[in-house]
């Protein structure tokens, strides 16, 4: 049995509590509060204590999906990227860069957000980048 506790940060609210994810054989089974984290000092709220519960939920999206005849159907990453690259190029050429918009995410990491906004500004050429900070 492979058991480890990985120190990380809760994904729910803006507090940013330190949590230890207990992992058994590649599955997150429990959440522990981290005592040395200055935000939560060993405490957690009910959402935090249960933050591991959605990770392995069966409804997780596991493959790219492409709409076909009104239905989303599983496809390979290759096919999904081909479709996206083709459509983005077509729309950019036909309507211009500012016809494309991006919603980045207050749930994702700084690194995700940095690369996403860079993609919008550099690859598409638009500043149409926002997220739900206002919501």
């Amino acid at each position: 049995m492979d058991y480890r506790v990985i120190p990380t940060i809760c994904t729910y609210c803006g507090c940013g509590c330190g949590v230890g994810l207990e992992v058994v054989d590649g599955r997150v089974v429990r959440t522990l509060p981290i005592r040395t984290n200055p935000v939560n000092e060993g405490k957690l709220c009910i959402k935090g204590w249960n933050v591991h519960e959605f990770i392995h939920h069966p409804a997780r999206l596991k493959k790219p999906l492409l709409k076909h005849g009104g239905q989303l159907e599983p496809v390979s990453w290759e096919d999904a990227f081909d479709y996206l690259a083709r459509e983005l190029s077509r729309i950019k050429e036909t309507y211009g860069s500012d016809s494309i918009g991006f919603l980045v995410s207050a749930k994702c990491t700084n690194e995700d957000n940095y690369v996403a906004q860079k993609f919008a500004r550099v690859v598409i050429g638009t500043n149409n980048v926002d997220h739900c900070a206002r919501l």
């Binding site: 803006g14 940013g16 959605f54 999206l61 596991k62 690369v115 550099v122 739900c132």
Partner: protein, 548 residues
């Protein structure tokens, strides 16, 4: 954010969480702290135990209200009138901090001119708060050695959101309660990394580090770093993108980990907009009402499957560590954009999240001194601004001087909410969170223990209104606004006053945002007025079919 940035030069929390414990007077307005930020609420309790005074201002009798030294229920959307009234008293009584105002601020005369017009009698008429309570709040806040303001979406999600925040900044500067430990104006950010997403330039007007896109020297800096020519035009905000899609100007939308079909105002309108797009691509970890409408859906990973950093509400940058491999074929979001960029002819070759972090810190002055190495060494993370590798971080902003130099007072007049009750739609409706759920419920509603606590939508109705309309606790009711209607369960409670209704917005099956309006935007921040709309309420007749 725009309001604080205009007054102080930075839109973030001015002080850190821990300092709240030692605050003499805590002023909580528009924040249901125990529900939305539980670990901030613990600091309020600790401060109370040390003898702090607690002021709570909220239209709903939230949990904190029962611990407050003074609690007032003001009418929805009357924050500016209330704060102007409080400042009127502070000025007239001479409780303001003249030295601070002289040395650290500008435009004080304009403030005095405005607050002069808001004696407690007028403020009381507008807000419904008793005159003696306004005077008491003024005295507690102004005469304590350290006073701290905590606020959240109850202040910002209004058509006057920026005005509300400017008023709070005025109040803090008037009393010199900023730039010292245990003081400040502190917006509690709703999402784990909303601060970081803003810091990283996830906004239409700025590059990473709040460097404006329309300032030529900033543009040149990023053009040089990224090796391309960049657009000088400020982009569209979320709600503007929705409108542009309906007008046929926006043709494609790429959404990463957001669910606007539940979170945004007037969801009918959002749905129409998303359907009008030629391309809707969504990256998410679960199917949502938004992915249902997408042409292509890409599986992203949860926080447990990635390395990276989150920046919390107090500007603390902390390490996120990968605990397990991605589920199925899911991929880390930044890597998805990297692959797509390369396909579209712009080569990106980050080998790790640390690689990305090194690039972004080189371009973001407030993050320049932060590295994975430093974050891994300390369990505390680092609070930006952290400009150099030996800088300890900056828990307290605006010490000595404001980020913009002098603090700027704004003369803010009260403007009522965009939509107010009338004969046809006689109730005020406001929205918020419950303790076990989070935002649109994509994650919490897939969590066994949280679902067991509570898993259905409801509307809070005052006992007086329930009696008058013959509505029993637990009965189904119909709520209708000018945008649409929903059917949900009645929860009769005295946490709302007569004439006011409250709904949590987590539940797609009776989405509160079917009722809210997207037309009333704050003119500067473009924040929709999610916290106020007018509705009618009726008992559901037995023969009506449930089709919300």
């Amino acid at each position: 954010m725009a309001g604080l940035a205009a007054a102080f030069g930075s839109g973030a929390m001015t002080n850190s969480f821990k300092e709240i414990e030692d605050t003499e007077c805590i002023f909580v307005i528009g924040s249901n702290t125990t529900v939305a930020h539980p670990l901030v609420a613990t600091r309020i309790y600790k401060a109370k135990a040390k003898g702090a005074k607690l002021i709570v201002v909220d239209p709903r009798k939230i949990h904190l209200a029962s611990f407050a030294d003074i609690y007032v229920q003001h009418r929805l959307g009357t924050d500016v009138a209330l704060i102007n009234g409080i400042m009127h008293v502070i000025y007239k009584e001479g409780w303001y901090n003249k030295k601070f105002i002289d040395e650290r601020t500008e435009n004080f005369e304009a403030l005095v001119e405005v607050i002069d017009k808001y004696p407690p009698s007028l403020a009381s008429r507008i807000t419904g708060v008793a005159e003696e309570d306004i005077i008491k709040i003024a005295r507690y806040y102004a005469t304590s050695e350290t006073s701290s303001i905590l606020y959240c979406m109850g202040v910002t999600q209004h058509a006057t959101g920026v005005d509300n925040v400017k008023s709070l900044a005025n109040l803090a500067m008037l009393c010199g309660h900023v730039g010292r430990p245990s003081t400040g104006v502190n917006p509690l950010r709703g999402q784990n990394n909303v601060q970081g997403a803003c810091d990283m330039g996830g906004l239409p007007n700025v590059y990473p580090g709040y460097q404006a896109v329309n300032v030529p020297s900033n543009r040149e800096k990023f053009e040089k770093a990224w090796g391309v020519t960049l657009s000088p035009n400020v982009g569209l905000t979320v709600v503007e993108m929705t409108n542009a899609a309906l007008e046929g100007k926006l043709k494609a939308l790429i959404i990463m980990g957001e669910n606007p079909l539940v979170s945004d105002p007037d969801v009918h309108h959002v749905e129409e907009a998303l359907r009008a797009l030629e391309l809707l691509a969504v990256i998410d970890i679960f199917p949502t009402p938004t992915t249902d409408l997408a042409h292509v859906v890409l599986p992203g990973v949860s926080f447990a499957e990635k390395d990276g950093t989150f920046t919390n509400s107090e500007r603390r940058v902390q390490r996120v560590r990968k605990a397990i491999e991605p589920i199925g074929e899911a991929r880390v979001e930044w890597a998805i954009f990297q692959d797509l960029a390369t396909r579209l002819g712009y080569h990106m070759s980050y080998s790790s999240s640390e690689d990305v972090f090194k690039e972004l810190t080189a371009l973001t002055p407030s993050y320049a001194g932060i590295s994975y190495e430093r974050l891994d060494k300390s369990p505390e993370g680092l609070i930006w601004p952290c400009p150099t590798p030996d800088h300890p971080g900056t828990p307290i902003l605006h010490r000595g001087q404001f980020a913009r130099g002098k603090g700027l007072f704004h003369a803010v007049e009260y403007r009522g909410p965009a939509e107010v009750p009338d004969d046809e739609y006689p109730f005020w409706l406001t929205t918020g969170r419950v303790y076990v759920h989070y935002h649109t419920g994509t994650m919490t509603r897939r969590s066994f223990h949280l679902v067991r606590e509570l898993n259905e939508p409801y509307v809070e109705i005052s006992p007086e209104d329930a009696l008058r309309l013959g509505i029993e606790n637990g009965e189904m009711v119909r709520l209708e606004s000018r945008r649409g209607y929903i059917i949900t369960k009645a929860f009769v409670t005295d946490s709302v006053k007569e004439g006011l209704l409250f709904m949590p917005f987590h539940f797609a099956e009776a989405a509160a945002n079917r009722l809210t309006a997207s037309t009333a935007l704050d003119p500067i921040a473009k924040i929709p007025e999610l916290k106020v709309c007018a509705v009618k309420l009726s008992k559901l007749e037995p023969q009506t079919t449930v089709a919300a």
